[in-house]
């Protein structure tokens, strides 16, 4: 695929941080990666490999030390591009705002008129199954519901690229599977490109069209797996034999890298 036709395109992206000892910490890269428009791409890697750093670079939260990132043909360098939404692992609801106001926060910067705004907020709240809790405050909701509020706040902006940073990391296994179903549904409905960071191999195997595997720090891409799932799918695909094949392949690529992170590599 040429760089121009990709929805998101990374070339030679590298990130280093100043380390505590005064030197430099090479966190990531160089990474080359292209996302097709409308694709669901998952990135898996051992903990501390720079997955979240990669996501922050694409989100424009910090600039890459070297290399270029392009979104819809325009370069991102540490500024927040329009059309991108992010959902974090941590609870990022504003505790002083009601569910409704939290979701409406996503539209602060948009130019649409108030009536249309209210309508859109209501629609997204309904889409996320939060209608009965629109007036509640985050503290009154469960962790899973709060994460839905954050997803709603992102969706209301109608982003063309959605970045998910281990969004279900803090939830229990059953809730994660069900939230996965919802994300798949939203992905189909919105037609957005989704970029998912996760450490859970089964989550990546179940959700993504394509899975990129990262090495231990400094994170580089060491494998890419096409899942070939149909676009219409849900969590029941975990019963299929291919699911086991995919997770096995991922673990094969990752095992050596994970051993490095816990200091047990040969």
């Amino acid at each position: 695929m040429s760089q121009a036709s990709a929805h998101v395109s990374l070339r030679g992206v590298t990130k280093t941080f100043p380390s505590a000892a005064g030197g430099e910490l090479h966190a990531l890269g160089p990474v080359d990666l292209d996302l097709r428009r409308g694709e669901f791409l998952a990135v898996v890697g051992p903990s501390g490999c720079g997955k979240s750093t990669l996501l922050e670079l694409i989100a424009g939260l910090s600039p890459p030390t070297a290399g270029t990132i392009e979104f819809e043909g325009r370069r991102i360098a540490g500024d927040i591009p329009d059309g991108i939404g992010v959902v974090f692992q941590e609870d990022a609801c504003f505790p002083w705002l009601s569910v409704e106001a939290n979701v409406a926060f996503g539209l602060r910067k948009s130019a649409i008129e108030p009536a249309a705004k209210t309508k859109r907020v209501r629609e997204v709240i309904e889409l996320m199954g939060l209608t009965d809790f629109a007036k509640s405050y985050p503290a009154q909701l469960s962790g899973g519901m709060r994460q839905r509020v954050c997803i709603a706040r992102t969706l209301v902006k109608e982003p063309r690229l959605i970045l998910l940073d281990e969004p279900f990391g803090a939830l229990d296994q059953q809730t994660r599977l069900l939230m996965g179903d919802e994300v798949l549904k939203l992905w189909r409905q919105t037609g957005a490109t989704v970029f998912l960071i996760t450490h859970a191999l089964d989550e990546a195997a179940m959700l993504a069209d394509r899975i990129a595997v990262m090495s231990a720090r400094p994170g580089r891409l060491i494998d890419a797996v096409e899942t070939n799932w149909p676009r219409e799918r849900d969590s029941r695909i975990v019963e299929r034999p291919e699911f086991g094949v995919i997770t096995a392949r991922l673990w094969k690529s990752l095992r050596e890298e994970s051993l490095k992170t816990i200091g047990r590599a040969k």
Binding site: L61, V86, F88, A92, F94, P95, W96, F105, R108, A139
Partner: protein, 249 residues
Amino acid sequence: MSANALKGVRNAAMLIAGLLVAWQALYWFVGDAALRPPLATFRYTLNLVTSEAFWPHLSETMRAFAVALAIAVSVGLATGFWLGSHKLSSQVFEPMLVAVYSIPKITLYPILLLAFGLGMPAKIAFGAIHGIVPVALFTINAVRNVRPILIKTGRVHGLSATEMVRAVLFPAALPEIFTGFRVGFSLTLIGTLLGEMFAAQRGLGYLLMTAIGLHNVDLIMAVTLLLITFAAAVSSVLLAIDRRLHRRI
């Protein structure tokens, strides 16, 4: 919610009843030399607040307190936001603020008297120096403890620096800032009163000091009752707001 409110009212009633009983019992034990019983005190207090000589004292105290509180809150907030969001400055100045917080400020009253003279400015200064530091220290912590994920979320939504303060930093820090305000309120009040006791010729603090000097037990008890009632009423309201703000977290 209403069950909670009911409980609050019941607790307050029990506390007041308990204090009245203890007061009466103490009176039976100590006698007229240093105490008056509750009923006699209420009667005297009623006479006091209906007498014309009393109101200038009250208005003087309230004016001094209001100005001192305004100074304490504005200077405290500004200092707190500055030090809370600037790491090097807070490393340099915060230990000094803590040291100032910990000194017995009552020892400074002769210096304030020499600097400001007897009267309004001295007691405003005395009230303000009691209140500024707690407001500042609570604000520093409040701003510093805003969860980074909320700031990151603000950035993802493309907020400018002023929008970030208004829409994220301030509301996120508000519960802790309010606690600081509550503490600042108490300390500014006691500071103003202490200022009046030692450095003024008008106001409730002065009235109390004169009564102590003349050993006028009726007056001591009445002024103390009024001050406690005022402080308790306001701080109960502030405490209720404080709890409401904290419940959302």
